[in-house]
């Protein structure tokens, strides 16, 4: 008996660990489904990454775009989300089921779907797919990539940080040291340097792949932010998904320090409302706009194809102005925006080596 108990304890701790990861994406019990009286006849299938609707970030933003499209075009929708630690074959099953049920187009939220989308899209050339944040040279033509120029909004965030720092030290917290987040770092560094070369940027990544917990661990974010504050950084840009909330908490506790949020307008999030006074701005990544535009293009029979980049010009990325903390540097930001959209400034996508 003792052996079995020991075993059970281990299994439980193991699965609890996994479950606690999954629990980060506690979702609202009510999700939209098929069955709405749709007039247009378009059926959109959404496959979310782990967390799904209700993750207060990336997936929610995509869901907002879907909801808006649904309200405007009267389309039918079905949604499903990935499970933590599921196999690629599960993602394929999910997409195939959507195809079988007649959903077209199908939107896959997150780069984790790349392989699955490619495989399923090849088998069903008449179904249109969209994938967010990813593309590959081998994907078939019925796959549309929806990507963002995160480096541009991060560049603006860098300008804001550099303009507000008094100690000439600013910080960057990346959730996971992945290619995606390196784009944020690169843009931010360039933005800071464009204002004042002498400002130093402290960079902390919470985890390194394949450990993706850096996107979902507020405690790690808090610790990293505390470390940077102790080093004298007074503006911190936290591009770390849900871990960013920890960083925001830590920064809010220190008088005179600012934090820059990411993806959505974090000052507007109910859970973070009490830290509004410390949130300088947020580097927006409007996944909702991308999803909405894609569905709209299908509805108008002029589907977006290939790799679609949502940039500063098209409003795909930008800075939030909630709280009015960056109103005083508006002229500077507008000038930089102008330079980027006109092509005069090209923001790097990879941070300096080392």
């Amino acid at each position: 008996m003792r052996r079995t108990v020991k075993l059970a304890a281990v299994v439980l701790t193991g699965s609890l660990g996994i479950a606690s990861l999954a629990a980060c994406g506690a979702k609202s019990s009510d999700t939209t489904t098929a069955g709405s009286s749709g007039g247009s006849g378009i059926k959109v299938g959404m496959a979310y990454d782990v967390g799904g609707r209700g993750d207060q970030g990336f997936n929610d933003s995509a869901a907002a775009g879907l909801d808006k499209a649904k309200a405007d075009f009267g389309i039918q929708t079905t949604e499903a989300e990935a499970k933590t630690g599921e196999a690629d074959s599960d993602k394929q099953t999910r997409l195939e089921t959507l195809v079988t049920a007649g959903y077209n187009p199908i939107v896959a939220v997150g780069f984790v779907y790349q392989t699955a989308v490619e495989k399923v899209a090849k088998e069903h050339p008449n179904v249109k797919f969209a994938i967010i944040d990813s593309d590959s040279p081998t994907q078939p033509t019925n796959v549309t990539s929806l990507e963002f120029t995160e480096q541009q909004s991060s560049y603006l965030a860098g300008i804001a940080a550099a303009s507000k720092t008094k100690t000439k030290h600013v910080g960057f917290i990346g959730g996971v040291q992945s290619e995606l987040i390196k784009k944020f770092e690169a843009g931010y560094r360039a933005g800071v340097a464009s204002v004042d070369q002498s400002i130093s940027v402290d960079v902390t990544y919470l985890t390194t792949p394949p450990d993706f917990s850096g996107f979902s661990d507020p405690a790690k974010g808090k610790e990293a932010a505390q470390g940077q504050l102790d080093k004298g950084d007074d503006v911190i840009y936290a591009a770390a998904g849900a871990s960013g909330t920890g960083a925001i908490q830590a920064v809010a506790a220190k008088q005179g320090a600012w934090v820059i949020g990411v993806d959505t307008d974090q000052a507007k999030q109910p859970a973070l409302a009490k830290y509004q006074g410390s949130i300088l701005t947020s580097a927006l990544k409007n996944v909702n706009t991308a999803v909405y535009s894609y569905i709209q293009s299908i509805k108008n029979n002029a589907p977006l194809t290939g790799v679609q980049r949502f940039d500063l010009k098209s409003g795909g990325v930008g800075l939030a102005t909630t709280g009015g903390h960056i109103d005083d540097i508006k002229a500077k930001l507008d000038a930089a925006t102008q330079q980027i959209t006109s092509g005069a400034t090209t923001v790097p996508t990879a941070p300096p080596a080392g």
Partner: protein
């Protein structure tokens, strides 16, 4: 309880059938209880549980669903056997998780670097995977025999270290080629040559992993090793009582090291069905957590090859059909996690209940027998 029922040798023949029923009773009881718990959960959240189970069984009765279930069960079976091998001698190899991921990374790297004919390449990759898994497990084995470090602690630590090692190695320039166009956010090893494709069996419902056969071979070998070889006997003996085993001349330290390595080598195979049949590269989102799934499956299957087979099928059925739940009826797929969790808890409780019941039955029978003997002895005395 597992097969360790003391003082039953005399009964073995007679209560065999009863034992079988008792052995089946526990898992069945566990599944029934967990189905009930999940039904209550679904019903209280205003959803019809019958519909949910209907969706699941419906998918499982379709041919493509069955192929998917079998494919996944193949991976799960290997995970279960890898863990069970250690469990049979009381070694808790919690580290299968790190072992198989590291093994798959190295196998994928080697597979990307060489391009040999299939009949050399595939065995080579399997051997690489088993070697890496075995060596990684050997660290825990060596620590245990030389320093007395509990393998539970060391293998858990090694899981975290394996994650770190993969993070260090899986970067462009080391195990991954430089970013070859595209803004793929996933970094992965070079895709392996076509010669590394493991064969698949084409069926109505799609292609079935050829690894299904390998899994059966592993299961048979596992059973034969345990029941027909001296090594297997030593292993079981050590599992039951280390001191008794060493008194009878078993080199316990060597047994620990060997079985840790074998368990790790088997764990090395866990990632292979996916790697050699589906993905052909190791990416940052290579499926993690199979080692822990393996522990649950080994526990449910009572560490026997056949039991693990059923457990793997059950787990795979649950995981595969879970994907359908939100799509076909707006059910939360998490209900499957609840079900798996309750099965694990219930199975422990059920085994204990069944064991007590079995013991009681035995005692009653012994009592009855003794009474009968006494009665007949008395009769003889009277007759004399």
């Amino acid at each position: 309880m597992t097969t360790t029922q003391p003082a039953k040798r005399g009964f073995l023949q007679r209560i065999d059938r009863e034992r079988l029923i008792l052995a089946l009773a526990a898992p069945v009881l566990a599944i029934v209880i967990s189905v009930l718990i999940c039904s209550v959960l679904l019903a209280t959240s205003g959803k019809n549980p019958i519909d949910a189970f209907h969706i699941m069984t419906n998918f499982a009765s379709a041919s493509d669903g069955q192929v998917k279930i079998l494919n996944k069960a193949t991976t799960y079976y290997l995970a279960g056997v890898a863990v069970a091998f250690g469990f049979r001698m009381n070694l808790f190899n919690i580290g299968a998780d790190g072992q198989y991921r590291l093994a798959a990374l190295f196998a994928a790297y080697v597979g990307g670097a060489v391009n040999l004919p299939s009949f050399i390449e595939i065995p080579l990759l399997l051997i690489v995977a088993m070697l890496v898994g075995g060596l990684w497990a050997a660290i825990a084995g060596i620590l245990k025999v030389t320093r007395g470090v509990s393998e539970v602690i060391s293998t858990i630590m090694l899981n975290a270290i394996a994650t770190g090692v993969i993070g260090v190695l899986l970067v462009p320039g080391i195990f991954a080629p430089g970013n070859a166009g595209g803004v793929s956010n996933s970094i992965q090893t070079k895709t392996m040559a076509a010669s590394s494709n493991f064969f698949t069996i084409t069926t109505q419902g799609g292609s079935l992993y050829g690894f299904v056969i390998l899994a059966v071979v592993v299961g048979v070998a596992f059973q034969l090793t345990l029941s027909r070889t001296r090594f297997g006997f030593d292993l079981r003996a050590t599992g039951r009582s280390e001191s008794a085993a060493s008194a009878s001349g078993v080199n316990v330290k060597r047994m620990i090291l060997t079985s840790m390595c074998v368990s790790g080598a088997l764990a090395g195979l866990i990632g292979m069905p996916d790697l050699l049949t589906d993905s052909h590269y190791f990416g940052q989102n290579f499926q993690p957590g199979l080692g822990f799934t393996g522990i649950a499956i080994a526990l449910l299957g009572r560490n026997t090859p056949i039991g693990i087979g059923f457990a793997a099928l059950l787990w795979s059925f649950l995981d595969t059909t879970a994907v359908m739940l939100p799509l076909q009826g707006n059910f939360p797929p998490e209900i499957v996690n609840v079900m798996q969790g309750t099965i694990v808890i219930c199975v422990v409780v059920a085994y204990e209940l069944v064991r007590r019941y079995g013991l009681k039955r035995q005692q009653q029978r012994v009592g009855a027998q003794l009474a009968a003997q006494a009665a007949s002895a008395e009769k003889k005395e009277v007759a004399a």
